[in-house]
Amino acid sequence: MSFLQHLPALQVVVPLMAAPLALLLRRSNYAFLVVLTATWAALAISTGLWVQVADSGPLSYAIGNWPAPWGIEYRVDPLNAFMLVFVSGVAAVVLPYSYSSIQAEVAPQQHYLFYTMFALCLTGLLGICITGDAFNIFVFLEISALSTYVLIAMGRDRRALMASYQYLIMGTIGATFIVVGIGLLYLMTGTLNLADMGKRMAEVQGSRPVLAALAFLTVGISLKLALFPLHQWLPNAYAFAPSAVSAFLAATATKVAVYVLLRFYFSVFGQSQVFGRLPMEEMMLILALAGMFAASVMAIYQTNLKRLFAYSSVGQIGYIILGLSFGSVNGLTSTVVHLVNHGVTKGAIFMLLGGVALRMGGTTLARVQGMGKVMPWTSFGILICGLSLIGLPGTAGFISKWYLLLAALERDQWWLVFLIVLSSLLAVLYVWRFVEVAYFKEPRQDIVAVSEAPLGLLLPSAVLVVATVYFGLDTSLTVGSAARAAEFLMGGLR
């Protein structure tokens, strides 16, 4: 039992210790084994936490045995237990994939650095999710962000450097905004513990610094989660990073930022505060809609598949934020479900695109012509995930769309309903660009002899593709957890 008590700390410590170990070992195979062990251990730990939370309610863990409002508290509740499982699950799939993937994409002498940074990034993301301390969120945010910049810069195209630099600038501005917001909240409430902050918020509600904090946090986090129009860093970062990094980022990074937003909005400010004092609801709604349409349209006009799906990510984030802006249980359920569903889907797509880039030497539409013929499994996988992006029944995307539409219908906003379904038709357009290029064109002369992606890439991708379908058919895990999390958020942290 005593071991189980310490799971919240181990959740972060295990990958944290794997990072320096990988650095010390230097040999890429050893580094890989260490990080792999840590990642899978993290998955096991998060599953354990998830079961504990489902059984006995939220857990609290005092780091250094300093009790909650003063010390740093790790707090596991239905929402972040689910996020932890998701993040570590994706990492557990992407890491084996990266072993084969980076052979071709990263210089061999940098492999151990890659694993180190991957472990750090995972540490950061898990830390963001698990911590109950506002400043700690910032620290972990920067740990994951800094390691992400390094990971992106490892891409073999020189544009990766520029992408990483742009992300660094935007990400740092975002993080700094977040610190400012946290600082203002700290000044007003005198505490950094999120739960405590939420309780004390009642006394200072509506005062100007608190509203300013809300604004700073919203902008900062929106930068991190690439909410339209603060998304400019995202397409390049996804397009030029090594494939394994793209997949991991696409699946988790922005999603964790959404989690932070949820946490601040619903656990700290409280729903009434966020949506009552400022026109946040309308603002989020408009930005979400703008993102859904503008980013999807931009996706249609991309000539590179990685960029196409990167823009699609920006559009899909619109759906996630839209659900949040409803401020209802079903809306939040759709947000949380779509976090996971879209994360899994996009992760799968970028992993498969890694195989495409490896075999075909790039992912431009002109290059991947006739892909359906030479790489049938990969193409089929991307197609399935594309259908999930569209939101066709039988895929994970359908479930998210269902709850999103349900939330809109609950408020009798038919115009919104039609906007949502129309924007999902835009997804049909960009997915079908891929389909027509892959299946209706003959392969180019120089790639006729290309073979299917190696199993080391294909198998991990297949896991996520299968998950995409599975979460569209059996939703007891995703919707069950999401609904619990949504109800929990609406009930407040108290």
Binding site: V13, A19, R26, G64, N65
Partner: protein, 141 residues
């Protein structure tokens, strides 16, 4: 600069004191301002100073790059190790109270090792950054 006698003598005179100061800042962190961060930076500054005067090659002989990288890693491991030690001794993660039967001593012991870890990592990182930028020039121009 390598040939400037004044600088060489001054450096040789100063560097021991800088190192000593770093240790002072490190261990005085228990009672007053100071601690691992500052000590680590001062420690790194001493090496950087040495490199500036005697050249990169000599500095690399004194503090080789693999050592620097290992320092970065080791520091974090020491830090986390203290935390895990707390776990193993029956407390929470980073629980210093259980590190010694006497909880005040436990606190001392905990913070001491944590600061050692911090200093190691910080000086490692500082040196890594320095080496990284300096070595670029060698390849480039």
């Amino acid at each position: 600069m390598k040939n400037d006698l004044t600088l060489r003598v001054l450096a040789k005179l100063l560097i021991p004191f800088i190192l000593l100061f770093a240790l002072y800042v490190q261990f005085h962190g228990d009672f007053g301002p100071g601690g691992g961060f500052q000590a680590g930076v001062i420690l790194a500054a001493a090496v950087i100073f040495y490199a500036l005067i005697f050249g990169l090659a000599d500095a690399r002989k004194v503090v080789p790059e693999p050592l620097v990288e290992s320092m970065m890693a080791l520091g974090v491991l020491i830090y986390a190790g203290v935390g895990v030690a707390g776990l193993l001794l029956g407390g929470n993660f980073l629980d210093y109270f259980v590190l010694d039967p006497n909880s005040v001593h436990g606190q001392h012991r905990g913070i001491f090792w944590v600061e050692v870890g911090v200093a190691t990592t910080v000086s490692g990182v500082m040196l890594k950054i320095f080496y990284m930028f300096v070595s670029r020039g060698e390849v480039d121009e």
